[in-house]
Each structure stands twice: as C-alpha cells, then as structure tokens.
C-alpha cells in the first residue's frame, strides 16, 4: 500500500521465486488494465515466451525432481541421478532450456528485469532467440518422452470432490489471457469478476486462506486446463495426449502430473511459433506512452500451478490504495484437503510410512507451492 505503480511488479514478483515471471506479468496486466494501456503485439509475444519459459522450468522441475522419485520409490532426485542418469539428464535439459529462454527475454531466470508497465526495457538478441528454435525441436521429443514416462506410472483411482477452473479462450490454449471457466458448469466469466466467483476464508489450521466457489472447493492447474482447453492443444501435444491412457474430462487429481507433461510438449511447439513471429516480424516492444490515472484493474494468467489473479487500485498519483492477489496453490488447498478425506480411508490399511508416502504423492500431484501458499 502506498507504493508507486512502477514498483508493484518488482515487489509482487518476489511473492514466488518459483514462478516469478507469472507474478511479474500478471501484476503488469492489472496495472495496464487500471490505466487503460494497450501493449503491442510484439510485447505480448515476448511476454508469452517469458511465461512459457517459466512453464518449462517449473513443470520439468516438478515432474522430475519432485514427483518422479515417488514413483520409483526414492526419497529425492539425488539417488535418482545414480539409478536413472538419462532421465535426470533429460529433466535438466528441459529445465535449463526454460531458464535460458527466460534469461534471454527477461534478463535472468528468477525475477525478470526487462518487463515493465507497457512493454520491455530491452529486446533479446534475435540471433540468439532464433537459435532456440532447434533446441525447442529437440525438447519437444524430450517432452513427448516425459508424457510416456508419466503415462507408464500407475496412479491410484480417485474422483476429486470439487469443480475444475481454468482460463479459456475460444482461439487459444489460454495461458496469457482468457476468461475464468468452470468445467462442471460450462460458464465463462471475465476475470474482472474473480472476487464474486471465488470466496476466500481464513481457516484455523493454516496460514493460507481457503477458496471455494458456490460453496464448493475447486481445482486449478494442468488437469483442469487440459480438461477445459484440450481441443486447443498444439498438434504434437494432442498426439502425445491421445497416445496416452488419459481421457479428457478425467476427474482423477493424480492425472495432473501427466497433464503437466502434455503441456511441456505444447509449450515447446508454441514457443517455436512465437520465436518465428518475433524473428521475422516487426513492431516494437518499447514501453508505450501512457497517463497515470486513478482507477482499478485486474490481471490474470495461467501460472504453472493454475490461475493467478492480481487486482489493484491506484490513486491519481499512481500509488497503490488496495491490492489483492489469489495464488493457484491457495485456490487448490480446500480441494486438496477434500481429496485427502476421500483418498485416505482407501490407503489407511498401509503401514504408516507407506500411508504417509501415499498422501504425500497426492499432495505432490497438485504441485503445491510453499512460497505462494502463504500469501
């Protein structure tokens, strides 16, 4: 509160070092909505690359470093590097590619420097950007193998309790922009209405608030996105999905990991397209001129773990008078707890260590983020 508009993305990016580009860009979108700023097509393309770089980095890290050790019965990635070096190599390749892409466009892998209100302070070297094309082609294969790997892992049966929400758009697999969409009810609502869609309440056992919609918990993330926008995935991602055992409309939360892998394929395909447009296309990413005015704005995007909302109000000097942020992990918590209540009785007969591992596996399917959850 009281901070200047041009400090907002600097500060809110620090909510989460794990998906910082998402926080930075979502807050920029909210500020731009408040001031009535329209950014150039080139700026939008560069922002998409930043977001997708974050997806590559996050999904690869989660799938291989955190989730995969579970499925092969190891406590962490370090022994996995001994037993399955090729798998860990593949993980580090995808993760590094995501980081390198974010670094080229944003200046560094964590907390992008160049993205500001209205545009970018610096353009990536187009030669270096074009060189990513080939790396992304290779990564598409790595990603397709990731889908196969996670499709081969057996997961328990589970039917989630809540609804599933994701941004969607009629012409795109919505990540940067879209409308809040309910899988069960089929409605689409503009993100400016997020406060009336999502109810947050303080619960005694957690520092994080719990979210519900119409009194029901709901899930956000890769599974809801694939369920809602699966027909708008790229051709290769769709082929990988169809080859797997996954059926669109699944309500099994454990399938979130598989859907993250499918999104890795989609991200590689899309980034190649964006790079071609940036390298061949003209336009400018220099910040557009704007006037600071009193007003309010909402920004939203899909972060790796689900829909992220930022809302701010500003006075005529451009100082923040109100701010509100709802992170994906906070939205998921009520549904995760509801899932645990459904799932735990079925595994309660297991010895304690195995029981705990089963519950942890469910938690990791949601890919919860410690840093986001407490905000």
């Amino acid at each position: 509160m009281g901070r200047r508009y041009d400090e907002v993305s600097l500060i809110t990016s620090r909510i989460c070092g794990i998906c910082s580009p998402n926080h930075a860009l979502t807050s920029l979108k909210a500020i731009e909505a408040a001031f009535g700023i329209h950014v150039s097509e080139r700026t939008t393309l560069m922002r998409k690359l930043l977001l997708y770089g974050s997806f590559l980095q996050n999904h690869a890290t989660h799938l291989y470093l955190f989730a995969a050790p579970d499925f092969v019965g190891l406590p962490s990635v370090f022994p996995l590097a001994q037993t399955h070096p090729d798998v860990v190599d593949r993980a580090l390749r995808i993760k590094k590619l995501g980081n390198d892409l974010t670094t080229l466009v944003g200046g560094r892998p964590v907390h992008p420097i160049t993205a500001v209100v209205g545009g970018f302070t610096s353009e990536p070297d187009m030669g270096k950007l074009a060189a990513f094309r080939e790396l992304l082609e290779e990564a598409t294969n790595d990603a397709a193998q990731t889908v196969e790997l996670f499709d081969a892992f057996e997961v328990d049966d589970l039917v989630t309790t809540g609804d599933m929400f994701a941004l969607s758009a009629s012409d795109d697999y919505a990540i940067y922009d879209g409308e809040t969409t309910s899988l069960d009810h089929g409605w689409r609502r503009p993100v400016t209405e997020y406060r009336s869609v999502i109810t947050e309440e303080v619960v005694g056992h957690s520092n994080a608030k719990h979210s519900t919609a119409d009194g029901r918990p709901f899930m956000v993330g890769s599974l809801p996105r694939v369920n809602i926008s699966g027909d708008r995935l790229g051709a290769k991602a769709r082929a990988a999905l169809d080859k797997s055992g996954f059926k669109i409309g699944s309500r099994n939360s454990f399938h979130n990991n598989l859907c993250q892998a499918v999104e890795l394929v989609d991200v590689c395909e899309r980034c190649i397209g964006y790079i071609d447009q940036l390298v061949d296309g003209g336009g400018s990413s220099v910040p557009v001129q704007f006037d600071v005015v009193a007003g309010s704005g909402v920004g939203s995007s899909e972060a790796p773990r689900g829909t992220l909302y930022h809302g701010y109000s500003f006075d005529a000097d451009g100082r923040v008078t109100a701010g509100d942020i709802i992170t994906p992990t906070a939205q998921n918590l009520a549904n995760l707890e509801a899932d645990m209540r459904v799932y735990a009785p079925g595994v309660a007969h297991l010895p304690e260590a195995e029981f705990l591992l089963a519950i942890e596996r469910l938690v990791r399917a949601y890919d919860p983020c410690l840093s986001c959850s407490v905000h």
Partner: protein, 249 residues
C-alpha cells in the same frame, strides 16, 4: 569426510533455493564436493542432528525462526546466508514498518486471530545470530553463490564487494539513468551484479544492500542537485533496505 551441508528457508519466495537448482551445468560437480544432508526444497527428508555448514535463505518472521537459528548457530561451524531477505531483511522487512498488527488484520481480517501466530517483525538473519558468509541480491547470483560457497568450504574470509554499483556500471558503458532524469540507486548499492539491471535498461533497485563504501549523505546531495526528490529516493531505497539504517539524509 566431505563437509555436511544443510539448506533451509525462513520467510522467502524460495527464489535463491531455485537459483541453486539453476546451476544445472555445475550442480552435480558441486554435489560431489559436499555431503548435502538436507535441502528443504528438493528432498522429503528431515534436518539431521549434526552438520558443518548451514545455508539459510529468507528473513526471520516468527519466534520459531529465532529458536531454529539459535540451534543452527550452536550446531554448524559455518553459517552462510543467501539472498536479500536473509542478508538485509529484504522485501519482507517492509511489512515491519508501521503497525505490523494492522497489516496482519488487513490480510487475515478480524477472524484471523488463530493463524500466523508467534510473528515477529521481519529481520535479517544477522539480527539474531552471527553470520560467516553472505551472498546478497534478489535473487542471488549463482556464480557468486558458488564462489562464496567454495570460499566457505576452504575456510577463506568472506569477501563481499563493498564499492557502489556505479563503479562497475561505468565500465559497462551504460548511459547514466540520473542523466536521463530517472532515479537509479547505483550510488548506494553494493556492486557484484555486473550492473545487470542497468545494462538491460532498468534502474538499480538496491537489491544487494547498501555498499559500505557508499557515501550516502553526499549521494543524496548529488541527487537533490540533479533535481530529484530525495524523499522519493529514500522510499525507493527502502524496498530492499528498509532496515539498513546507514541511509540517512
């Protein structure tokens, strides 16, 4: 025996632990030199009873953190803090300015009495225990981290650059933001980042903390003479350095 290392996080965004995972090319080499006994971000294990080096990210925000740090100091031969939150209190420290309880009420409302108990005003690790090595910055730079870690493992002295960022920025041939009428905090901020932000077209935000060699009083005079509002400069400096009391006008 390889030194036993633990990595833990207090209140932070995990960005510096993420930066540790971002050393893809060298990560496995570094792991060969140490016995990584515990890493909060990357393993489902628990803290061991004994270890040699503690790497700590994040600001102190709870009484639990204070107790943990005292135990860590009693156990570890070497304490290394990484990132602005742990080094200067960073962005979390802003929450401690003004009425902490009022801010808490603003987030959790009147029903929030039960949650986030044992809170203390956010502070850097050095405010609770002695610190041996520092890697400043938000986020920390991975190359600097490896350099400081290897100094720590070899028992060499902590050596953080103490001259202001402008000294390095000039060698990058950047056009000075102050001459373009934009506030830049390079005169105050300790160098070591290679002037990365300014080189990419964005003014310095002071994330590495105040440089010991910075002449704050004189820097403020220069800024005032160039027509900048010194109150605004101090406000911007406070984003990462609200507890760095050295800054005064």
């Amino acid at each position: 025996m390889a030194p036993r290392v633990v990595v833990m996080g207090l209140a932070s965004d995990f960005g510096c632990q993420v930066q540790m995972t971002n050393i893809e090319d060298d990560l496995l080499d570094v792991l060969g030199l140490i016995d990584l006994s515990y890493w909060q971000l990357a393993s489902s294990g628990h803290m061991p009873a004994e270890y040699d080096v503690a790497i700590i990210e994040g600001a102190v925000t709870t009484t639990e953190h204070v107790e943990l740090l005292k135990r860590v100091r009693a156990t570890a031969g070497v304490v290394m803090v990484i990132g602005a939150c742990a080094v200067t209190g960073g962005i979390p420290a802003m929450a401690g300015q003004g009425d902490l309880e009022e801010r808490y009420g603003c987030v959790y409302g009147a029903d929030g009495a039960e949650v986030a108990c044992g809170r203390v005003s956010p502070a850097p690790v050095k405010s609770v225990i002695d610190v041996d090595y520092e890697v400043p910055g938000c986020p920390m730079d991975t190359t600097e981290f490896l350099r400081v870690l290897s100094r720590a493992l070899q028992g060499l002295a902590n050596r953080v650059p103490e001259e202001p960022m402008c000294a390095i920025c000039k060698t990058k041939e950047n056009i000075c933001f102050l001459d373009k009428g934009e506030i830049c905090l390079g005169l105050f901020t300790r160098t070591g980042c290679g002037a990365r932000c300014v080189t990419l077209g964005r003014p310095c935000t002071g994330c590495r903390g105040l440089a010991k060699d910075a002449n704050v009083e004189s820097a403020m005079k220069i800024l005032a003479a160039k027509g900048f509002d010194v109150d605004e400069v101090a406000e911007r400096l406070a984003v990462f350095n609200t507890l760095e009391e050295a800054f005064c006008r």
